[in-house]
């Protein structure tokens, strides 16, 4: 009843279509003047039925389908899946292939964090930083293209290894590119920590305390900027992270500035690890043979995506198609932190806070549950039925 007496609520809708959002999502912010008093998030506009689609394709096709969950961190999805399937099939991939996977993963982290830096600067109305960081991001995009042949969906992984090698020329190109990037990252670090107008938009804004980050289960740089030591690369090393470990970057600022600092410092860390690996690349084959049919079993695979922990659950049934694949992306863990931290802030800070977790909407929209409102029976649809439903819905 208390809510109904307050009919004067002024709600600012952000999304599903809004210039601040690069992907569709819907947020309703209740405002009192410029101050946000309530926030709700609604997702699900870009559900593509990928998990269901995986059940009707074989393991090799799934690799390419899953890579398309995210256009920014495509490699980690493929890596998490490949690691899971290799675990199911009891196949050990050669150290060289593991190392190359890690190089691509860390290059991808650099590309993802620089992309985020630009987007966050854009949300703050700092167009110059946006343009500069995206220009420099081209360097790492070129490196990835030179390595794998693709700029976005690298497809560096195959089941049982990788498809591309790092030649001495490519190694030199990577080192040259990283030299340039290191210099630029130092510049961005200076800008982010010393530009007064930018600091005015980040310092003390969107504070997510250590306790909140723990309770809400935040992951990745969002959690690390609140001082929570959570990094899969250290907690359960995969690939060659045990031979070439990364240092965890922590910051106890808890605010947006801390999230900027953590991500930029991670760029340096990624760059350091890549240099180490390409200089000490283990010898060996790129691929090992994989069986077509995977014996019945289940496996869990966790990797650290640029946005945080990426979790894959795989269940095989003895055929060449998986029984079930469940993906939990880092963005979904971080959404609740936005709704909590937004309250009490000015409306102008909201796009920054939203961007602060580096959200990926299409990453989040995969699970679907069809239930009738009266609590009716939940039903399991086949891929074909789901597809037909989509066609009918949008007709």
């Amino acid at each position: 009843m208390a809510n109904q007496t307050k009919t004067e609520k002024f709600i600012i809708p952000i999304g599903p279509q809004h210039p601040a959002l690069k992907e569709p999502g819907h947020f309703e912010f209740t405002v009192d003047g410029e101050i946000v008093t309530g926030a709700t998030a609604r997702l699900g506009y870009v559900h593509r039925g990928i998990e269901k689609g995986c059940e009707e394709r074989n393991y090799i096709q799934d690799l390419y389908l899953l890579e398309r969950i995210c256009g920014i961190c495509s490699h980690v999805h493929a890596t998490a899946y490949a690691l899971g399937v290799e675990k199911l099939a009891n196949v050990t991939v050669t150290p060289r292939a593991q190392a190359i996977r890690q190089v691509v993963a860390e290059l991808e982290r650099i590309h993802s964090h620089m992309l985020w830096l630009g987007v966050a600067a854009h949300e703050a109305g700092f167009e110059t930083l946006f343009m500069y960081s995206w220009r420099d991001r081209e360097t790492v995009m070129d490196l990835l293209e030179g390595l794998t042949g693709n700029r976005v969906h690298y497809s560096a992984n195959v089941l049982g290894g990788v498809k591309c090698d790092i030649t001495p020329e490519q190694r030199d190109a990577i080192l040259r590119g990283l030299d340039y990037l290191d210099e630029r990252m130092q510049y961005y670090m200076n800008v982010v920590t010393s530009d007064e107008t930018f600091l005015g938009r980040t310092r003390g804004v969107g504070v997510l305390t250590y306790e909140q980050a723990e309770t809400l289960g935040s992951v990745g740089p969002t959690a690390r900027a609140s001082g929570v030591t959570r990094d899969i690369r250290l907690e359960s090393p995969y690939l060659v992270y045990s031979e070439f470990p990364v240092k965890v970057i922590l910051d106890d600022g808890c605010d947006l500035l801390a999230r900027f600092v953590v991500r930029i410092k991670e760029l340096f860390e990624s760059s350091r690890v890549i240099r180490l690996i390409v200089d000490n690349l283990p010898a060996g084959e790129l691929t090992v043979r994989m069986p077509r049919r995977i014996p019945e079993n289940e496996a869990v695979s966790r990797v650290e995506a640029p946005r945080g922990e990426l979790f894959y659950y795989l269940k095989s049934n003895g055929t060449d198609m998986p029984e079930r694949i469940k993906v939990r992306t880092p963005s979904i863990c971080n959404w609740s932190s936005v709704v909590v931290t937004a309250i009490g802030h000015k409306l102008a800070d909201i796009p920054m806070i939203l961007a602060g977790i580096d959200p990926c909407f299409s990453c989040s929209d995969r699970s679907v549950q069809i239930c009738s409102a009266s609590g009716g029976v939940s039903k399991i649809w086949t891929w074909e039925q789901l597809r037909q439903y989509g066609i009918e819905y949008y007709r």
Partner: protein, 311 residues
């Protein structure tokens, strides 16, 4: 230069009508191009602002539900009319102002504020939430920069002992070194105040696209949007002319006009590229805490200097 222009010509062609529209668009292009270059982009082609206007003019004009249609259609016209009228009182392109009377400085400044008020009204006229919020911010910002801007332009008027733009212009031509030396604060406050008036970055909170889409003008399309757009370009040109006239030693001929106003535009472009957008509370705080006080101190200094006979 002292050419007499027939009133009708002054209204329609120069300096009131077509001239200011086209030169305003050209200045918008210069501004966009400069910022693009500073941001390592290529920037628009030279005819892009004109092409934009032609395109928006050709679009269907949608009158949204819940507005007063008369007001909705009249506000853009009023905004443009006010700005074009203001153009008649400034020494555009080094010519004598077409019309001049004692106190026209105040009239010109109020005419220049008309556009902001029209945009604010246009925002609250609609029921769109982004528009209302944008209008609130536009009007809040108006109250923050207007006083310092006025005080800053008052400096040269006090020194010249006249409220008439042509008198101040004549005085400034003879004493430009003195003006710059004794009132640098007024100059800076006026230049930044103009950026606030035009809602240029970093003062673009009223139309911050990542927060409130297009602010007060969200619901406008077609002719209304085009008229507001042209009015703002004209305001840019008039504002630059005023500042160049008052602080950079007047404008004697078209070449001087080009050099001085484009020089100011370059400074403005650099400032626009340099900063992140200020929140509306930061904008208001900045203007009232620093802008107004500095402008007042400047006026005080000028009054003292004048009373002891230095100026």
């Amino acid at each position: 230069m002292n050419l007499s222009i027939s009133p009708l010509l002054a209204l329609l062609i120069f300096p009131g009508g077509l001239f200011i529209l086209f030169v305003g668009l050209a200045y918008e292009w210069v501004d966009r191009k400069l910022i693009a270059q500073l941001q390592n982009r290529i920037g628009p082609r030279w005819f892009q602002p004109l092409a934009d206007i032609v395109k928006i003019l050709a679009k269907e004009e949608i009158t949204p539900d819940g507005v007063s249609p008369a007001l909705f259609n009249a506000l853009p016209v009023a905004a443009l009319a006010a700005v074009l009228t203001a153009a008649l009182y400034v020494p555009m392109a080094g010519m004598q102002p077409s019309f001049s009377f004692r106190g026209d400085l105040i009239v010109t400044l109020y005419l220049l504020s008309m556009i902001t008020i029209c945009i604010g009204l246009a925002g609250v006229n609609t029921i769109d939430r982004f528009s209302v919020l944008g209008a609130t911010r536009t009007l809040t910002q108006l109250f923050s920069y207007e006083a310092p801007f006025l005080l800053a332009l008052l400096g040269p008027a006090i020194v010249a002992g006249s409220w008439q733009i042509s008198d101040i212009s004549a005085y400034a031509r003879g004493h430009w070194g003195l003006i710059l030396l004794t009132q640098p604060i007024s100059f800076i406050v006026a230049l930044i105040g103009l950026m606030g008036k035009l809602e240029l970055p970093p003062f673009d909170a009223p139309e911050a696209e990542t927060e409130i889409v297009s602010g007060a003008m969200t619901e406008y399309s077609g002719r209304g949007l085009a008229l507001f757009h042209v009015a703002r370009d004209a305001e840019l040109l008039i504002g630059l002319t005023l500042i160049a006239t008052f602080f950079l030693g007047g404008i004697a001929n078209p070449i001087e006009f080009l050099l001085k106003t484009l020089g100011l535009l370059l400074v403005m472009a650099i400032l626009q590229a340099l900063f992140a957008r200020l929140r509306i509370d930061q904008t208001v705080g900045m203007w009232w805490r620093f802008g107004s006080i500095l402008a007042l101190v400047q006026i005080l200094v000028l009054v003292i200097l004048k009373s002891i006979g230095v100026l």
